[in-house]
């Protein structure tokens, strides 16, 4: 058993009446870092999350937490921000945060201290004594994100945490999540916003119609689905450079295909040596969004045939 894995799913299967929600899925969530859980709507993400939190049980397969079966005591160490948001509308923000943290086994005094801490981080210290129903939707969502963090959990499961937040609050939330990650927390992020996944996640797991379609470190996946090309904004590239196979001009950009076995750095040096003016130089990575669409479409075509 790899001790670096925080959560291990082995052949997890869940059926609701006649539909299979999760089909024989296995993956590991490594300790620390951000793990992306992706998939189209209705793919089985929420079912997976609920099983990982022991809200529902799988029909078969095992889910291990720190190497053991999930026990009720483990619920104290995992928090959850559900996708569909809701709070007790009539409660004061303070009481709500205290209650949720206490349910995670945190003593009241500690819960109070940390509630305030996270409201300050969320730039919302002034709402502590307000009733939830008086807050705007965005602010209610920030309260919920805070609620998921107050109890100092080891694992934080966030389902679409950025949906409905303005850019300022998205950035604020990302900063806070980055902080949590630095503190060694394991963050499980379920989202449709692929740019966020590229930016935040170390690993990802993609599910479609209950079946695993992608799984691994984000950088590896991007490499795997990207062309072996470099994207440049530069002055005209001279012909017949030995390191370069061919060049395709795409608007302002030029796509450079190095010969087999040539590293990007060698291409860069060759270009500089020949006096090419370079404004931008990067690997021609396929956006995750495109990979997502391609992979899902391919899988569905296969499933049909």
């Amino acid at each position: 058993m790899n001790t670096m894995n925080k959560i291990v799913l082995e052949n997890v299967h869940k059926r609701f009446d006649s539909t299979v929600a999760v089909a024989d899925v296995s993956f590991n969530v490594p300790q620390g870092g951000v793990f992306g859980l992706l998939g189209p709507n209705g793919a089985g993400k929420t079912t997976l999350i609920r099983m990982m939190l022991d809200i529902i049980r799988p029909d078969s397969g095992t889910i291990l937490y720190d190497g053991h079966q999930l026990t009720p005591g483990d619920k104290d160490r995992i928090t959850y921000l559900p996708e569909e948001r809701g709070l007790y509308k009539k409660e004061k923000v303070r009481d709500l945060l205290d209650y949720f943290a206490q349910l995670k086994g945190m003593p009241l005094a500690e819960a109070r201290r940390r509630s305030l801490l996270y409201l300050v981080k969320m730039e919302m210290a002034d709402v502590l004594d307000k009733k939830v129903e008086t807050l705007s939707k965005g602010n209610q969502q920030k309260i919920q994100i805070a609620a998921a963090l107050v109890s100092d959990p080891e694992v934080i499961v966030l389902d679409e945490p950025f949906a409905g937040l303005d850019p300022l609050n998205v950035r604020l939330t990302k900063e806070i999540l980055t902080e949590e990650r630095k503190a060694g927390k394991t963050i499980l992020l379920s989202t449709h916003q692929m740019n966020q996944v590229e930016e935040l996640c170390d690993h990802l797991f993609m599910i479609d119609q209950g079946v695993r379609v992608l799984y691994g470190p984000v950088s590896e996946i991007l490499d795997r689905y990207s062309e072996p090309a470099l994207l440049l904004e530069c002055s005209t590239i001279p012909e017949s450079i030995p390191e370069i196979d061919r060049v395709v001009v795409e608007g302002k950009q030029q796509k450079v295909y190095p010969k087999a076995g040539v590293a990007p750095a060698m291409v860069l040096r060759a270009l500089i040596d020949r006096g090419v003016q370079i404004d931008r130089f990067q690997k021609a990575a396929t956006p995750l969004e495109e990979i997502f669409v391609r992979v899902v479409q391919e899988r569905r075509r296969e499933a049909q045939s």
Partner: protein, 429 residues
């Protein structure tokens, strides 16, 4: 256990702060006070009116037997001393007015009495005929009153007056009085062991009334509180707080916490009612007899019944998509607690009979049935124990079934499951 108490505390705090709960809790005693105030006031008013309106009745003594000198004494004998009626002084006087308050007016002939009747000076008139001693018959001509009014006003007075007049001077004073004054009865109630039963009539009423009031309070309290439980579960399901809760506590902990919180809220309500209604009643109504064993049994079944219904409600409540749907499902359970009320008469006529006992053994009807039975009669202790045991067992069973329903129902959105589906789940889960 800590989490159960956390959930219970929150549930309690939230329930007792609800506007509807506060209104029901404080409003119920006020409602009763108001209701009794109005009906009591109406009675007093009608008494005062009846006192103000003294019937005048004519007397035509053709026999010449009636002795006018005896009338005041006879009239006085008809006003009962307060102690005999069991009512406070004023009310006793008012009650006696029906007889003592009749004013008599003598006429020489039936014709003159008839004239006075036509002029509406009298309501009617008695004629004691010339041959009364032989016939023993007296005639009354009178305008009928309504159903509730006295249709022979002054009849008791005339009867006693006639008797007193007939024997006056012919018998010794004492013997004469024994003849025309009916005997008074000194009735001494005994308990089964031969000791005097001092509780009196009011004691009877309270020993019946206390458990009966408990049964009614139980039902009102159950209906309001369980509605809030349902509402709470449905709300949490609607706003998805339930998912956050279930990621922190187990289904069983959540269910147990909710039911305990509800139970505490119900007891608080009961406590307020006891303080507001029962305590003043003990002080202001003389002769109330509280039996502590009765109170204890009533309380026990109150709590057990509450927990059982609460569990059932939470389980059923989790099945609907929103409060209204949940309420429809749970209606069945609430209604069944009321069944004994519809069977009140058969149960009370034979409190230890088959029907009453069967209803005591059915968990849903047991609390109310037992409360009614202990009010009416001494229920065998093993009957109470058996009923309590069945209630406890079904509570445990419902706790398990309710938790299963809860587990299955809380995260089900969309179609409401049919009874068949629920049965299949319970088997599978």
């Amino acid at each position: 256990m800590k989490k159960v108490s956390l959930v219970a505390k929150r549930e309690y705090r939230f329930t007792v702060r609800r506007k509807g709960f506060i209104i029901t809790t404080l409003g119920m005693p006020l409602f009763f006070v108001l209701m009794y105030g109005i009906s009591g006031g109406a009675v007093l008013l009608s008494m005062r009116q009846s006192r103000a309106k003294i019937d005048t009745i004519g007397i035509v003594d053709e026999s010449g037997l009636l002795q006018a000198s005896l009338l005041p004494q006879v009239q006085k004998s008809l006003v009962l001393p307060p102690a005999d009626t069991g009512l406070p002084g004023k009310a006793a006087a008012a009650a006696a007015l029906g007889e003592g308050g009749v004013s008599l007016r003598s006429f020489d002939s039936p014709e003159s009495a008839r004239d006075a009747f036509l002029r509406q000076e009298i309501r009617g008139y008695y004629v004691v005929p010339r041959d009364y001693l032989q016939s023993g018959a007296v005639q009354l001509q009178i305008k009928k009153g309504n159903v509730m009014s006295d249709n022979e006003p002054g009849w008791n007075l005339l009867r006693r007056w006639l008797a007193a007049s007939l024997v006056a001077g012919k018998l010794p004073e004492e013997t004469a009085q024994r003849l025309w004054l009916p005997p008074t009865l000194d009735s001494n109630p005994l308990k089964a062991d031969g000791s005097p039963d001092t509780a009196g009539a009011l004691g009877e009423i309270t020993s019946f009334g206390v458990p009966y009031v408990f049964a009614i309070l139980f039902m009102i309290s159950l209906m309001t509180s369980s509605t809030y439980l349902l509402q709470g579960v449905a709300e949490e399901k609607e706003n998805r707080v339930i998912e956050i809760l279930l990621s922190s506590v187990t289904h069983n902990e959540l269910l147990a916490g909710k039911v305990l919180g509800l139970c505490a809220a119900g007891l608080t309500q009961l406590g307020v009612w006891i303080v507001m209604v029962v305590t003043p009643a003990i002080f202001f109504i003389p002769g109330i007899d509280l039996r502590w064993s009765q109170l204890f049994i009533a309380l026990l079944f109150f709590v057990l019944g509450f927990m059982m219904f609460g569990t059932l409600m939470a389980g059923l409540g989790s099945l609907g998509n929103n409060f209204r749907e949940s309420q429809q499902t749970a209606m069945v359970a609430t209604m069944s607690s009321v069944i004994p009320m519809f069977l009140l008469m058969p149960i009370l006529s034979q409190p230890n009979g088959t029907l009453a006992r069967v209803l005591s053994y059915i968990p849903l009807t047991a609390p109310v049935t037992i409360m009614m039975r202990i009010g009416a009669v001494r229920v065998p202790w093993w009957d109470i124990l058996l009923s309590a045991a069945i209630l406890c067992a079904s509570l445990l069973l419902f706790l398990r079934l309710g938790a299963k329903l809860f587990r299955l129902g809380t995260l089900m959105y969309g179609k409401r499951p049919s009874a068949m589906e629920i049965a299949r789940w319970l088997r599978e889960a």
